[in-house]
Every structure is written in structure tokens, then in C-alpha cells.
Amino acid sequence: MKYVALLTNLQEDIDRWAMMTPKEAQAVRAEEVPKWEALFGELGPTGALGAGFELDSPSTAKTVRVRGGETLVTDGPFAETKEQIGGVMELECEDLDQAIAIAARIPVVFRASVELRPVIER
């Protein structure tokens, strides 16, 4: 079964990262790198990991609506939520339990969350 894992970050963390100097942000990233490498190293060969996308911060988002033929573009994400999507990973799993086991190892899961959604294949 195909799943999409929506990786979220806490908005308060995103705000904190935005206040950091590039050097400080780099140091925070560096702490996380071994966890990501372990995940990719272990799961890569299993074929469970499909395409993945790390998104730029929600402040860089634009939200597009079309109403009455007019395109309305606003700055910022669609919704102001406590947790914000920061990445998307496509998973190929036997079942939901396997997807949950993978989600529980994705580094964002320790502070924010990973939402798993089945993919509709037509």
C-alpha cells in the first residue's frame, strides 16, 4: 500500500529557527542529520521510501484561490496551525502498522507529528 507521510514541525520551533543565525541553524540541523541518515540507511534498501520533499518554511508559502474568474494570491500558508507541514514522504508499505513503525522513526515525530494518509490509486 502506498502512504503519504506528512511531516510536521511545531510553529514555535519554526519561529525559533527563523531567529537563529545561519551558523546556529546549521548546528541544529547537524544534530538531526545522523537520525535522518540512520533512517535512510536502514529503510532505503527495503524499498519502503519513495519520493520525499522537504518544504521551505511556511512563511515562504503563497496561497492561491480563484473566485469568479479572478486569481487571488495571498502570502503565507493556508492555515495557521500549531503544527505546520514541513515535509512530505511517499511510503510503500505492507500495511498501516509498517507505516506507523516508519513514522515513529522520522525525526520530527519527537517534537511534532507525522500524519499518515493512504494514497488513492486510480
Binding site: L55, V66, T71, F78, A79, T81, I85, E115
Partner: protein
């Protein structure tokens, strides 16, 4: 540059549509998808099952907490995304405006980071 176009809409409205109306919407998506692929703008994407099928995972301490439902309750919910290859966010927004859900829901366009790892 790569962008994700996150598609938000009223999933209850979708579920209430009859088969003919659903097919008409699917046809609009096929048209958009074909156009985007021919222009080499759409490079990927997924259609997500309803938020009622969502499972949210958190780990606190040593405990894995699994809850049913999405990470946030929203009136309009994420129903899928397209991966767009565009020269600028403005170009990505003009493609996003062609996504059928843009005319009743909203499309959030986010740049994709090329660097791997977190935080972002």
C-alpha cells in the same frame, strides 16, 4: 525550482457528489494533469484518501502515541498535492490557479528545499 502545490478543499462536499459530478471533476484533473505533464511542469503528486482514514503518530519519551485523524482539524482539508517544476513561485502560483480545487478551495504553494535533513 521545485514547488509543492498542496490542495485544500471541502472533502464533505466531494463525498456528497454523485458519480457523474465526481467523474466531471476527475476529468478536470486529468486535463490539468495532462497539460502540466506536457509542459514538463508536473513531475509528481498524490491523491490522498479522506482525513477519516488518517493516522497521526507522535513519540513522547519512549512512548509512541497513535491517534486516528489528521494532525490538525481544519474545515478545508488536504486532499493531495502536485509537484511542480517552475522557474519562480509566481509561475508555480499561476499553475496552482489552474488546479480545479483552486476555484472553491485553496492551493498552498511551497518551495521545496534542495538540502536534506531538518530543521527547515
Amino acid at each position: 525550482m521545485q514547488y509543492l502545490a498542496l490542495i485544500y478543499g471541502d472533502e464533505n462536499g466531494w463525498q456528497q457528489l454523485g458519480p457523474d459530478d465526481r467523474n466531471a471533476v476527475m476529468e478536470e484533473y486529468h486535463t490539468f494533469s495532462r497539460e502540466g505533464q506536457e509542459a514538463r511542469v508536473i513531475t509528481g503528486g498524490s491523491e490522498l484518501d479522506a482525513t477519516s482514514t488518517a493516522t497521526t503518530v507522535r513519540v513522547r519519551g519512549d512512548e509512541t502515541l497513535v491517534t486516528d485523524g489528521p494532525f490538525a482539524e481544519l474545515k478545508e482539508t488536504l486532499g493531495g498535492y502536485f509537484v511542480l517544476e517552475c522557474d519562480s513561485i509566481d509561475e508555480a502560483c499561476s499553475w496552482a490557479a489552474k488546479i480545479p480545487a483552486a476555484s472553491h478551495g485553496a492551493i498552498e504553494v511551497r518551495p521545496v528545499n534542495v538540502d536534506e535533513g531538518k530543521p527547515s
